[in-house]
Symmetry: C2
Subunit: 241 residues, 2 copies
Amino acid sequence: MSMQESSGVALWRQVADGIERGIADGRFAAGEKLPGEMEIAETYRVNRHTVRRALAALAERGLVRAERGSGTYVEAQRLAYPLRSRTRFSEIVGAGGHEPRGQLIDAGEDIANREIARELGLKIGAPLIRIEAVRLADRTPICVSTTWLSAERFPDAGSVFANVHSMTKLLAHYGVKDYHRASTRITAAIVDATDAARLDLPLGRPVLVVDATDVDMLDQPLVTKRSRFAAERMEFLVENG
Amino acid sequence: MSMQESSGVALWRQVADGIERGIADGRFAAGEKLPGEMEIAETYRVNRHTVRRALAALAERGLVRAERGSGTYVEAQRLAYPLRSRTRFSEIVGAGGHEPRGQLIDAGEDIANREIARELGLKIGAPLIRIEAVRLADRTPICVSTTWLSAERFPDAGSVFANVHSMTKLLAHYGVKDYHRASTRITAAIVDATDAARLDLPLGRPVLVVDATDVDMLDQPLVTKRSRFAAERMEFLVENG
DNA sequence: TCAAGTTGTCTATGTTAATAGACAACTTGA
DNA sequence: TCAAGTTGTCTATTAACATAGACAACTTGA
């Protein structure tokens, strides 16, 4: 298998990063069994030995544990947003937030405005599925997020989501086996009335606004979302640089 | 030369990233000559051929241009924060902002509070040099920043800075040849009265607050800074993920 | 003109990354 | 018990990475 180009980043490292991202954002939950080495190799189109190199690197860091004859299991328990402690940036922004973990507030239909149409590669006015969720840490709301996806590409996604309650499972239902973060934008704003109530935040307080779009392996946009974090309860920590 | 460990990232890529960071944050200005290949090789403690591999990668992207017999020159002209356009996250947060480019507002002395003492590895109450600056784009203020560094480690830094007007040159004056970003934290707040005036922003508007600390090659903290960006004039774009 | 310093190019060598195949050791479920 | 599927461990080969040295081609400034 030919590399797309010489990026200077070893293939096993790219695979390891991909799996770690899957663990960080919850696609691979703690205690859960990872796909088999052969299946991972096929997913990333690399040799099984390359996958084993990646898994060995993750195992050395304690993220996974291999059991001979059985499988490889996720060790890391998620940090669950300890309040005011430093949450790793990559968990929240770089990769995390695929799963609308936390409580589902609402799921319904919507129409694409210009911004969402651009992000998802749709026409303005295209039908959308809209999912609203809130994340809690020790019963304190940290973040509210709105997720949009095309109702044409994912027909009846609303009722599917109501059943599976998982974005990954919903996408898998439509044949999307893997996807990753394409872009993330960060800005700040004043909380609006609806979010203030959901975040249990006084009016006039600042929120961090994170816009993110996920794409499939062919860089086709799948979902786009906007998350609002209570700034006084959350800070993003960027790793070294 | 032995690698510190097998990181999965090729040495030439690490060197290329380091040089690109230097270009992004202004340590290597547009049109300026880079250090010679031998000097870069000594700085990063790699072979000259590895440096050439890194420079070739940068040249292919148009960031630098090599001139035989003369030197290698920086091609990229800095983006200068086009208003509302997407500024690359790495330029601002990941690496950028070493130079207090833009207008110097004030430089004076200060005392370390608990937070700054922790970041710089000093005792509370230790004497500091404080530098205030504002960044403009088309005469519109985008960001105000405060930079602190130890007055003990960098005695008379205030007067030195007043002469050289450059953080890099100031550090070089004390023998610091290279340094990099250790940590970056992002949160949001409501603008205070002083910053509102400097940013030409109404009271009550949100600002993005970026805390960053730079360290030398031995991970000893050198400077720490807090930047406040007018959220309505700036957004951070995170590359792929 | 000339010496010093720069980038460009060649050969050579050892290490690491990645692929490929085969089989052993073990677990699971029928 | 046994077949299927899993991880573990070998050998082997090719390509990329990294180092080392030497010298050519060129620029710059004294």
